[in-house]
């Protein structure tokens, strides 16, 4: 009986020849990522050692990454003090992959890990962030965990009592229409599966539309797999993965591609053709409340957000700039742009995208999670509506329970900013 990608990765990491869905394993962790919540991880980590006579020591500091992105620059003395404590801990433990608040090497964790080549096909990646599923875009098994579980990983170097998930296979065929892409595909899939349709399962993506997709788009797909409840989203590594790792992430060493066996056993197989897919919108207040754009076109909006770990990459900014070039956004709309990393910010600056967006009326902010989770920037007023390229629209998500958030692709967000209401980016299309 063959294995899925998730089974193969977990078998290798657990030093077994074969594992199957439902087995309980203790995989070695290749990369353990945290952001500001490292402050809590440190607290739990130190507690593990209490009364043991052992010195608190991370099993392998070169495999730990800490990236400040959720509240950057700090919005409060409390956050600033937490960040200070984390910095001190990073120094004392010799943690290597630390990304502070910086314009050159800083950014959002789910962009920093791929662009620095920290994630490789076949890796086991854990992160104290639910969108850690993103890194399945590079053929890794990557999943979100809580702070206490991370403390345990820091102590032992393994993830304890992990149940091997069953896998849903999604085969994507056809060719996207203009201004339709990865975000529309994943929103469509979440609408079909529902917010819990993939709970405790992995999703493995196949098909010609995936093979033709760049890593930037694959990151969108895997990032949002968790919105269907998936433990992990995985795109088996291929030529594009190698291209990205070599030419964009500067990886020099050997890259092993992990592919599923021909006779791998799947929980279910879903086929999707994207040829007729139109832009998809997730409507308030759940990510699976997905509708084709024609059902909500014309909805008046007050704020547009382009950015985040989902859609803050160079091609996202490029498409927004192409739509807004030489035009002005509607008077009643505030448009906030958050590039996903300092590197992307610089690239977008050099290519003129940021200048174009600013000339159209957008405010370009520093890389970070920004308003996505309602912490310190871009809050909404009572009764206001946002259209955002981020990944969640839960009630109160952007900091105000008396507001609503719609989710879309960058193309729809840019076109809608021009009109002041949700609008199709293709002229004349509905």
């Amino acid at each position: 009986m063959g294995m899925t990608v998730a089974e193969k990765i977990l078998a290798r990491a657990s030093c077994r020849n074969v594992v199957k869905a439902g087995d309980v394993v203790e995989p070695k962790v290749d990369l353990a990522m945290s952001h500001e919540n490292a402050a809590l991880v440190i607290n739990q980590f130190l507690e593990i050692y209490q009364g043991t006579n052992l010195q608190p020591k991370i099993w392998n500091p070169s495999r730990v990454s800490i990236i400040f992105d959720h509240r950057v620059p700090a919005e409060s003395p409390k956050t600033a003090t937490n960040q200070k404590k984390v910095r001190e801990f990073v120094l004392s433990q010799g943690i290597g992959k630390f990304h502070d608040i910086r314009g050159d090497v800083g950014g959002i964790c789910h962009q920093i890990l791929p662009e620095n080549g920290y994630v490789r096909p076949g890796s086991v990646v854990v992160g104290t962030d639910s969108h850690t599923t993103s890194h399945g875009a590079l053929g890794a098994f990557a999943f979100g965990i809580g702070a206490t579980e991370m403390a345990s990983v820091w102590a032992l170097g393994t993830a304890l009592n992990i149940e091997v998930p069953a896998t849903i296979k999604v085969v994507v065929k056809g060719t996207f229409k203009k201004f339709v892409g990865p975000k529309d595909l994943i929103l469509h899939l979440i609408g079909r599966l529902t917010a819990q349709g993939a709970n405790f399962k992995a999703i493995e993506f196949h098909g010609p539309a995936i093979r033709l997709m760049r890593t930037s788009g694959r990151l969108v797909i895997c990032n949002m797999s968790v919105e269907a409840g998936a433990t992990a989203g995985i795109i088996p590594a291929d030529k594009e993965t190698v291209r990205y790792l070599r030419s964009e992430a500067g990886v020099k060493g050997r890259i092993d591609l992990v592919t599923p066996d021909r006779d791998a056993v799947y929980d279910q197989v879903i086929e999707i053709s994207v040829s007729k897919l139109e832009p998809q919108i997730a409507c308030p207040h759940t990510v699976d409340n997905v509708k084709p754009i024609k059902d909500v076109a014309g909805t008046r909006i007050n704020q547009v957000v382009i950015g985040s770990c989902t859609n803050g990459r160079l091609d996202d900014l490029a498409v927004a700039a192409s739509i807004l070039k030489g035009k002005k956004i509607a008077d009643h709309v505030r448009m906030l742009v958050f590039p996903a990393s300092g590197r992307i910010y610089s690239q977008a600056l050099a290519k003129g995208y940021l200048g174009t967006l600013m000339s159209s009326g957008a405010v370009v902010m520093n890389p970070g999670c920004g308003p996505c989770l309602g912490i310190h920037e871009g809050a909404l007023g009572d009764g206001e509506t946002a259209l955002s390229t981020t990944n969640r629209n839960f009630k109160g998500r952007m900091g105000n329970p008396n507001s609503q958030v719609f989710l879309s692709s960058p193309a729809v967000a840019a076109a809608s900013a021009l009109k002041g209401y949700i609008a199709h980016p293709r002229k004349g299309a509905k």
């Binding site: 809590l40 739990q44 593990i48 409060s76 639910s130 809580g146 304890l160 819990q196 709970n199 900091g399």
Partner: protein, 167 residues
């Protein structure tokens, strides 16, 4: 025996349980004040100690979906609440087990606010309606963590065993 103090719908996210704007607060000793902060009446009742320890929240499917923030568990644990749901999101369920929040998976549960529930290993008995509902037991791998008193003592034990072996 506990009283149902809050009945919730499907897909209750961790943003609802512990809004993002309080995420700079991380310590389990400090998070309880922000439980369900945007359900202002319920939050006030919790902070005013009007909710007895052992009280029960009944949720629908996919309880605790969304962000992995552990505050969403420590904030409920701090009030010694029990969460009964038709189903849980993975990370929330695991965080609950790790921190010792009592979570009960009961796919068919029917209960209203004010009902008294008796929860056993096998079933939930709704004393107010007289109905009984089967409980899905936790997988043994997760039960081991609960039996150890949570993930911190569980890891501590393994760490000592393995460090001993290394020397």
């Amino acid at each position: 025996m506990g009283k149902v103090v809050l009945k919730l719908a499907d897909d209750i996210s961790t943003d609802v349980i512990y809004p993002g704007r309080f995420m700079a607060t991380v310590l389990p000793t400090e998070t309880p004040q922000y439980a369900f902060a945007d359900l202002t009446e319920f939050n006030a009742a919790l902070r005013g100690n009007q909710i007895a320890p052992g009280s029960i929240i009944v949720g629908g499917h996919n309880f605790g979906c969304g962000s992995s923030r552990e505050q969403a568990v420590s904030t409920l644990k701090g009030h010694q609440l029990t969460i009964v749901a038709r189903g849980f999101a993975r990370i929330f369920l695991q965080n609950g087990i790790n921190l010792g929040l009592r979570t009960v998976v009961c796919p068919d549960v029917e209960a209203s606010e004010g009902d008294e529930l008796e929860i056993t290993e096998l079933e939930i008995i709704n004393k107010s309606s007289g109905k009984r509902f089967s409980v899905i037991p936790l997988p043994s791998a997760r039960q081991a963590i609960i039996d150890a008193g949570g993930l911190i003592p569980y890891t501590r034990k393994l760490l000592i065993e393995r460090t001993g072996r290394a020397f």
